[in-house]
Amino acid sequence: MTKLLSVKDLTIGIDRKKDPLTIVNGISFDIDYGETLGIVGESGCGKSLTALSLMGLLGREIKQLKGTINFKGEQISALTDKEIRKLCGKSIGMIFQEPMTALNPMFTIGKQMADAQRLHLGVSKKEANLNSEELLHAVGINQAREVLKSYPHEFSGGMRQRVLIAMSIACRPSLVIADEPTTALDVVIQGQILRIIKTLVNEKEMSLLLISHDLSVIAHMTENVIVMYAGEVVEEDTTENIINNPEHPYTKELVKAAFDLRSANQRHLNVLSGTVPRPEESTKGCKFAKRCQFSMEICSIKRPKFNHKTNTKGRLRCWLAEGGINDRCESKTISS
């Protein structure tokens, strides 16, 4: 059976004649029907660009350079703008980080919620409004009728994010993409919003692609995780394995930082230093080599392959795991 979403060798960058720039470099992943997948990584690693490309929302400058995105057997990159508009909002819903900028301040919540439904489902205004009321109830808003008549500025961040979630599921999409949905919210509201998303995903049998830099959010929400670093996937596995038994040095650092921040009484945090290399910095070997404490000679010479892990179903891009003497010999011949 085909997967709901299948991304192969996706490469995003700026197509300049002189020096083309790749920002996301050949990433591949699948999302099955009803599956939840998380993407983690530092800011600037290409998480959000990946999400935008799935919806065909990349701008004129930054483009998909290579690879295929298959959604329900259809190639998204081959679709015209008009066809993409039919797909986005209907079959794929998106929840953005900033609920303030994602809602149009000039229209009532009701109008914005109804628009999508009338366009995609072809329902009447009345039906759309009734449906919207129901959706708002589902996300925990009690006075739905009044909310529909109000404008976005009248609400707090948490309320706006609820509205945005209600909107994103209005047309019963099979995939919801949530890009840092709770980063702008405080802890109590964060718990509530995550719970709402989780219940909806379970009840309506939707798939979820959750993007976050916060591992604790990922831990609670998704079954599988891919870890991105500088536009590449460096590790993928079940959430359980990633949190409890990370193998890539970068994943280890992320998990350690998350645990350290939560542990009691530790005054000085030992945090990975340095920053993600910028897209214009070209690296021959592993992109993480500069910041990696286990860095070997080969790491800065040759790019590691994305191999299957030995014990689990996951995959890993690291020379440590390849461990084979053959590879090292090979590297020596290259360097000499």
Binding site: S43, V187, L254, L272
Partner: protein, 316 residues
């Protein structure tokens, strides 16, 4: 008369009300706390609880309705604007959003020179020396001085904001959610930097945040704020290990663990009945421990044990 010796900042019965469309909102309501020299006090609460307003009132970026703020024994609210200007370099702020708090049309060198030039006696060479010192102290390179803010990442920009704040060697730095816009690793770097600077220069921090896990690492004492008032105040360990107020407990429970098997924190649905509405306690509408004595008893921040203060009728 309050004893203001040894204490850098004493805030006494501070209040601020905002009016909008005929609605009055008490953003800060009879708030009192003290901050010692070299200490880090964290103010934690959800968005809209008045924590940022408090920070702005102390800097006099907003006018106070009533109350006193003593800084180094002098009531800064009684000073004229001109007099306050002389004290103002001693109180600095670091804001949440490193994108909007730096002027995009100035180079980093110029941005850093701005506060240093307040001291009119300095020569150009001295100013330049100071700039070079500042940029290295916050962990950036001398080459970065000629760059513009857009060339930096969020974490680096926040370093620049911090460099600006410490330029005049202030005694108090008010950090308003300084790491909320940053990712996990950068948050760690920032907290380390703030901590090291404090060791080196002996600043006091008023650290405003909604995130308890961040506060855990930086604070000596923590005040939990709800709707304009402090509901609990104590040493960091007292608040984390033996929280008393139901709201503090709610906040601690809402912190997500890193467990993949644990369920998300439950949302308790509380019926907003008449008794709760009548109650003197602001938290009554959301409190899981609500009982009859909460209806009429007045709640005030009172000493529970040593430095641990709670505003809840269950503990008085």
């Amino acid at each position: 008369m309050i004893d203001v010796n040894q204490k850098l900042l004493v805030v006494n019965d501070l209040s601020k009300t905002f009016n909008s469309k005929g609605l009055t909102v008490k953003a800060v309501d009879d708030l009192s706390f003290t901050l010692k020299k070299g200490e880090t006090l964290a103010i934690v609460g959800e968005s809209g609880c008045g924590k940022s307003t408090t920070g702005k009132l102390i800097c006099r970026l907003l006018e106070t309705d009533s109350g006193n703020i003593y800084f180094n024994n002098s009531d800064i609210l009684k000073l004229s604007h001109r007099e306050f200007r002389k004290i103002r370099p001693n109180i600095q702020m670091v804001f949440q959003d490193p994108y909007s708090s730096l002027n995009p049309r100035m180079t980093i060198g110029k941005l850093l020179a701005e506060p240093i030039k307040l001291d009119k006696t300095l020569k150009l060479s001295e100013i330049n020396k100071k700039i070079n010192e500042l940029i290295t102290v916050v962990g950036l390179d001398l080459e970065d001085l000629d760059k513009y803010p857009h060339e930096f990442s969020g974490g680096q920009r926040q370093r620049i904001s911090i460099a600006r704040a410490i330029a005049n060697e202030p005694q108090l730095i008010i950090c308003d959610e300084p790491v909320s816009a940053l990712d996990l690793l950068t948050q760690g770097h920032m907290l380390n930097l703030l901590k090291n600077l404090q060791k080196k220069y002996g600043f006091s921090y008023l650290f405003i945040s909604h995130d308890l896990s961040v506060v855990k690492h930086i604070s000596d004492r923590i005040g939990i704020m709800y709707q304009g008032s402090l509901v609990e105040m104590g040493q960091r360990d007292q608040v984390f290990n033996t929280p008393k107020h139901p709201y503090t407990k709610l906040l601690l429970d809402a912190m997500l663990s890193l467990s993949t098997t644990e369920a998300l924190p439950a949302i308790e649905v509380i019926e907003k009945d008449e008794n709760r509405r009548k109650s003197q306690c602001k938290f009554a509408l959301r409190c899981s421990k609500f009982n009859e004595q909460c209806i009429s008893n007045r709640v005030k921040l009172e000493r529970y044990r040593n430095e641990h203060h709670v505003a809840c009728c269950l503990y008085t």
